[in-house]
Every structure is written in C-alpha cells, then in structure tokens.
C-alpha cells in the first residue's frame, strides 16, 4: 500500500451469549435444529406477545463489560429499532440505543511485541434476527426463525485500528476474553461471533474519510481479505477523483471482493424509542461487585503470571494464554515439571499435531495427563527426546498408554553407565586414528564419537551420560 495513505478501522462485534434460552423468550438456542422448531409465540411476534428478559444474559453482559475494562451502567434502557425485514418478525429489533448496559472501556492488543490500546465505545444487548435462505427456490426466500430472539452482545470499538493485522488482533483478543469469561463460545463458523467492520482511508494529516461497513465477517481470513480489498478499492476511487459513497458492503468469498448490499440501500430511519413493553433495567451495585469478584483470571493477567511464575518468554506466554482452554491444558501439564520442556511440548509438538488434524485443544487426542506422563519419562531419562516424539505420534492415533508404547517400540533409553561404557570402548577401539587426532587437540571430534555410539545403540543411549563418559574417557 502506498504509504501516504492511512487506514482507519472500527469494529462492531456481535457475540452470541451462551444462554440456554433466548433474550426475551424461553425457547431454546440450540444450534442446528430443524427449521422453525425453536420459535415461541414471542419470537414469531404473534399478536399480544410480550418480552420478558433473561437474567443470565444480563449477568453475561455485565461480566463481559468488566472483562473489557468497561463501565457498567447501573441504569440501562431497551429500545425498539424499527424496520421491516422478512427475518424480523416484530418489525423492530429490541436493542439498546441511548443507554447501553456497558459504557466505554479499553483492551490491549499486541503485534510483534508492540502493545496498543483499543478503545471500546460500548457493549449493548440486543436480539438476533432470523435466517433467510435465498437459494431454495427461484422465486421465494425461505425464512427460519430459530435464531430470532437469541441474545447478542454488540461490542463497538473506537476507530482505533490502522491495519488488517490490528483488526484481526482486536477481534481475536475480544473473542479470547469472552471465551475466558465463558459468556460466548466464540464459534465463528456457527455465527456465534461475527464482525461488522467499518473501513475508511485518508491521507496522512487529513480528516476522517467516508466509511463503508463490511457486514457479517465470520473468519479471521475473511476479515483480512475484506479489509485489504476495501482499502485498495477506496484508495483507487479517491485517486480517480471520485467520492466514496457511505454504504454497507458484503464480502464475497468466491471473488474475494466486497459488494454493495442492495437491500440496505434504502435510506433508514430506525425511529428508536424506549420499548414500552419493558421497564428500565436497574442494576444493584452489590450485585455488580459480586460478579466482579467472581471473575476468572483474564488473558492479560494470566500471561503476566505465566511469565513471572514459569519464567517463560513473552512470546510463549502470549501463545499459551490466547485461549483459555490452551492455558488450562498447559497449567495441568506443568505442575512440578520443567517449564521449558512443557512449553516446547505444548506449543510445538501438540499444536502441530492439532493443526494437522484441524482440532481444537478440547478435542486433543492426547490429554494433559498423558502428555505429562510422556514428559515425565523424558525427565526421568527413560526415553530420549527423539524417542518421545515417536511415542507422541503413536499416542495421537492409538489408545495405548505411554508405558505400553515405549515397551512395544523398545525405546527405553540406555542409562546404565557400564553398558554405555561398553559401547564407547568398542567405538574407541574401532577408531584409533580419530582418538589420536582428538588427543592432539581436535576436540571437535567429540560429536563424531557420540554419533557413532548412537548409531550402534540405535539412538537409545542416554545422551547426557554418553556425552559425559566419552569426554571423560578421551580426556584421560
């Protein structure tokens, strides 16, 4: 990108609260049910139906607000946002406009070790809409209201991001915080977390440009591609002397472009007003305090603790704490074990194995207890690190225990000094010329002798002992 241009990005995240029932009705929120089977009279906006708010959703919003270091508003109001759409049965969405449940806050993102604060403007509660299917019939759109009325938290950032990398880091960080708090499962494929991204460009020093909103992005890859395309598009328009039109655009995966949304073209006047079916929500200070006190450790705190407690690097701590489940797995493995060893096993071997199979850590074929046992065998010297990798591979595909695999494969390391000496003596006898050279000062040859011993022991000699004994024998 031409460096005289600056990108300005603000993000609205829609995060589905992981409640059992909807925000204003008692129908189930379960994903993947048959169409229109989780729709109550309230969700379908039958005549005379009224909303009653879900207490759990309020708690989750407050928790999330605290997690985003934001102000919790003791009084908030639910408003109606009026517009007609086939998947909006009431003809209005219940949302929060002027008085959201959570006010301003801030979170930190980190890219290549550089930290940056991103402002949070607000978090409010609102209802999700239903789902429209346009590809079932040439003349009809099908409407499924199962999602209609599910509780969403809309988290609005300040326009503080300047690149797709920052945008992705921000969404990742918010997602991580919500997953730590267990307020949203963060499942982007199922649409539990989606982002609307406001993008504008300007020349350095100039005032903010006209923004376009990129709707419903549900993967980090799409966020990056959509922003990149949009920035290039906007710069081209301006450089051609034309003006950016403020509009809502949809990212099209197949063409990797963004397209104007025709259905959102109509000028809107949402006519927000307080929902007369609901009274103001007043939160008790003590109740907020209680939630605050029960909050789990969040990613930033955990990262700092990992660095001091386990003396691991900033990078490793970041990787291990970006996800709550990973951090918990790591801490289960690390108890009384060597941090360096554990970090390398979790962050390298385990991650590689999970990535290969596209698995999340919750579905890891090797659980934390098993990985701990494997590391114990390395620490005890029963097997070498190299052999351990072989064991680990087997663990990923079989149900056998660590011991069984080691025995079956005959991988037990030779740690008996006299046995190792026997092999060394043989190698020294077989290579008199190199022994001579070593004694004359060519100490580099130490590696050669070790390699030879490993060859004859098929890699099973304890490398520490081997090194020690070979040196002792040659130096004598």
């Amino acid at each position: 990108m031409n460096s005289e241009w600056q990108t300005v990005i603000g993000i609205e995240i829609h995060a589905q609260i992981n409640s059992k029932s909807k925000l204003f009705s008692s129908s189930s929120t379960e994903f993947g049910s048959a169409p229109n089977t989780q729709v109550s009279l309230v969700d379908a906006a039958m005549p005379g139906m009224l909303p009653v708010i879900n207490k759990f959703c309020i708690e989750q919003a407050v928790k999330s607000g605290i997690g985003l270091n934001a102000k919790i508003n003791k009084k908030s109001i639910f408003d109606r946002k009026n517009y007609f759409y086939q998947d909006l049965p009431q003809g209005y969405q219940i949302s929060q406009f002027k008085d959201p449940i959570v006010g301003s806050g801030s979170i930190e993102i980190e890219i290549d070790g550089t930290k940056k604060a991103i402002g949070i403007e607000r978090l409010h509660l609102e209802q999700d809409a239903g789902k429209s299917l346009h590809d079932q019939d040439p003349n009809l759109t099908f409407v499924d209201l199962n999602r209609s009325g599910i509780a969403l938290m809309e988290i609005v950032s300040d326009p503080d991001m300047a690149s797709p990398e920052e945008a992705v880091a921000y969404v990742k960080k918010v997602r991580s915080i919500l997953r730590y708090l267990d307020t949203c499962d963060g499942n982007m494929e199922q649409g539990s977390l989606r982002a609307d991204i406001n993008v504008s460009v300007r020349k350095k020093g100039e005032s903010l440009g006209t923004r376009c909103e990129l709707k419903n992005l549900n993967s980090f890859k799409h966020i990056t591609s959509a922003i990149n395309f949009e920035v290039a598009r906007q710069i081209k328009i301006i450089e051609n002397g034309e003006e950016i039109k403020q509009e809502t655009r949809l990212y099209d995966v197949s063409s990797d472009t963004t397209k104007s949304m025709r259905s959102k073209e109509d000028a809107h006047d949402y006519r927000y007003f307080p929902d007369p079916d609901l009274l103001p929500l007043n939160l008790d200070e003590k109740w907020i305090e209680k939630i605050k006190n029960e909050l789990p450790e969040l990613p930033d705190e955990k990262k700092d603790r990992f660095i001091t407690q386990y003396k691991i690097s900033n990078y490793d701590a970041e990787v291990l704490t970006s996800d709550r489940q990973t951090s918990e797995y790591f801490e289960e493995v690390i108890s009384n074990r060597n941090p360096k060893l554990v970090v390398s096993w979790v962050a390298s071997e385990l991650f590689a194995a999970l990535n290969k199979e596209n698995l999340s850590i919750e579905n890891s074929p090797v659980n934390s207890k098993q990985l701990g046992e494997l590391i114990d065998e390395i620490e005890k010297g029963t097997i070498s690190n190299r052999a351990a990798k072989e064991v680990f591979e087997e663990m990923c595909v079989s149900k056998k225990s660590v011991q069984e695999i080691i025995n079956d494969k005959g991988l037990i390391q030779i740690s008996d000094t006299s046995e190792i000496e026997k092999f060394i003596n043989q190698v020294l006898v077989d290579n008199p010329i190199n022994v001579e050279k070593y004694k004359n000062g060519k100490t580099k040859l130490l590696g050669f002798f070790i390699g030879e011993v490993m060859k004859v022991t098929k890699g099973k000699a304890n490398p520490g002992l081997l090194n020690q004994i070979v040196k002792k024998k040659l130096d004598n």
């Binding site: 059992k20 129908s27 169409p35 309230v42 299917l133 079932q136 019939d137 759109t141 409407v143 007003f273």
Partner: protein
C-alpha cells in the same frame, strides 16, 4: 405551523410500508396537518429539567431464569401462515 406536504407524507407512507392512492395521500396530508396543529400546543409547555416517562409503572424490571422451557411445534407455529414451504415461512425472493 408545519404542513404536511406530499413529500413528507410519501416518506412516512414508505417508512410505514403503506401504499396509498393520490386521494388517500391528499386526505392524510390534511388530517395530519390538523392533528399536528393540535399536538403543537405542547410547544408552549416548559419541560426543561423534566425527565421523560415512558411507562408509568414504578417498578424494577422483572428478570426471568434462563430456562429453555417454551416449546411450540412447527405445525402450531405455522397454523395461521398464509404461505409456507417445508416448515419455512416464505416471502417473494429477496435480493441482498
């Protein structure tokens, strides 16, 4: 006094999803102008430093427990539907 002209009336009809004939629009313009001049009386009332009341009931919002207990069959949901397919509500094709 504000008068409703055709442009405002049409805009309101559009927002309200009403399609109106020219004579209906004209009648509405007249009626709304009259209603507006009636409600404009309120402009004389000083309401500085007064909070609006959107509901007269002075009570905390009552909260519901998170129970997924409301089950309505697809058949009952669609009992009054003008048109449906395979358990879905259907509308004329919408282009996004």
């Amino acid at each position: 006094m504000i008068e409703f002209n055709k442009k405002i009336t049409l805009k309101l009809a559009k927002l309200s999803r009403l399609s109106l004939s020219n004579s209906q629009l004209e009648n509405l313009e007249k009626d709304l102008t009259s209603i507006l001049s009636f409600i404009d009386q309120l402009k004389e009332i000083n309401t500085d430093s007064i909070d609006p009341t959107s509901n007269s009931l002075d009570q905390n919002l009552i909260l519901r427990d998170d129970l997924a207990e409301d089950v309505l069959s697809n058949e009952k949901l669609l009992q009054n539907v003008p048109e449906s397919e395979l358990g879905f509500f259907v509308v004329p094709k919408v282009i996004e």
